[in-house]
């Protein structure tokens, strides 16, 4: 922040002046909601006002600070009179009051920062939701304090991890490049230790549940009768999951292909039977004809998966 008087000023005064202007900065930035800093408000050039106040008190820094911290005491005649009388009686009183007030003001500010940092660190021990992070970011913004570097790094690492997860759970990835269910579960375990709950991590949790559910359905379908429609649905849902299931998926596809092939052969048989009349369906002659047709048909490749 530029200072009005910083260069070419008397070196003896500059440290005290800097401290005074720093206090004015702090009051304007952090504590100007109440009466503190009332005399400085109302202009973007509050430093100029600060200098005017300092001049008004003949460069008595403690008096200038006091007037900024407790403006009403000096503005109301009765309190002003009592105050001036008190500091006349005790020469150390003014500096003591100002010192303690500054300590209180800046100390409570630091306490507030420490508390929010500690809350954030605690919150990061489990997965922090985006809206919770936003709340903390707003708090830090309001306090005009930067999030500690190590916490910032943790958040960046968590975002990077999520990016990697996003790549892994993309169902457009070729089946051979997908993760196995075990690998997906390992990834989920790593995700549990992350400090940020991103949409990708939520999706990963969901995908693991869906993959386990899918596998259980496949296991149940094995050795049990299933409709072609449900079988097709099961294959499609397995394909949409970003998991390389291996044998269960391949076995299911094979079953579906065989069923579709059979369906087509039956339809072909019906079609040829209809031209001859339904009564002839099971005659020996028909059986021979259909056999030949079915054999031709079986050679054609109509696998869909």
């Amino acid at each position: 922040m530029p200072r009005l008087i910083s260069q070419g000023h008397n070196g003896e005064d500059s440290a005290e002046l800097r401290e005074y202007l720093d206090l004015c900065d702090f009051v304007m930035r952090e504590a100007s909601q109440n009466l503190n800093g009332m005399l400085l408000r109302g202009s973007s050039q509050y430093q100029e006002k600060a200098m005017n106040i300092l001049t008004q008190f003949n460069f008595d820094y403690d008096m200038a600070k006091f007037s900024i911290l407790y403006p009403t005491v000096l503005l109301l005649p009765e309190t002003r009179h009592r105050f001036l009388k008190a500091i006349k009686e005790d020469e150390t009183l003014l500096s003591k009051i100002v010192r303690e007030a500054v300590q209180d003001l800046q100390g409570s500010k630091q306490d507030e920062i420490d508390e929010v940092v500690s809350e954030l660190r605690q919150a990061l021990t489990h997965r922090l939701k985006p809206e919770e992070l936003k709340m903390f970011q707003r708090k830090f913004e309001k306090m005009q304090v930067k999030i500690p570097d190590d916490v910032e790094q943790m958040l960046l690492d968590a975002e990077e991890f999520s990016k990697q997860v996003r790549k892994q759970i993309n169902s457009n990835v070729q089946v051979e490049n997908r993760l196995s269910l075990e690998q997906l579960e390992e990834l989920q375990e790593l995700a549990q230790a992350q400090c940020l709950e991103t949409p990708e991590l939520l999706k990963l949790d969901q995908q693991v549940v869906s993959a386990r559910d899918w596998l259980a359905k496949v296991e149940r379908s094995q050795g049990a009768e299933i409709s072609l429609k449900d079988l097709d649905k099961l294959v499609r849902s397995g394909k949409q999951l970003p998991v390389k299931f291996g044998e269960p998926f391949e076995g299911l596809c094979e079953r579906l292909n065989k069923a579709l092939d059979l369906q087509q052969r039956i339809q072909e048989t019906f079609k040829s039977n209809k031209t001859r009349g339904a009564v002839q369906v099971a005659t020996d002659q028909d059986i021979g004809t259909n056999n030949a047709k079915a054999a031709v048909h079986a050679n054609s490749n109509h696998n869909v998966y």
């Binding site: 050795g223 009768e225 409709s227 369906q263 048989t269 369906v281």
Partner: protein, 46 residues
């Protein structure tokens, strides 16, 4: 052949409309065959 298709479907344990129809047709024909055989047996005895 139709019976073979039916057995194939049963082995796959997959159900669909055409297979059901095939089962019904085979069952109807088998029933007709049984009746026809009974009739022929009856004729032979006579």
């Amino acid at each position: 052949m139709n019976a073979a298709l039916q057995s194939e479907g049963e082995a796959l344990k997959v159900s669909f409309k055409d297979l059901e129809e095939l089962r019904e047709k085979i069952a109807r024909v088998n029933s007709w065959k049984t009746q026809a055989n009974a009739f022929l047996d009856h004729q032979t005895i006579r």
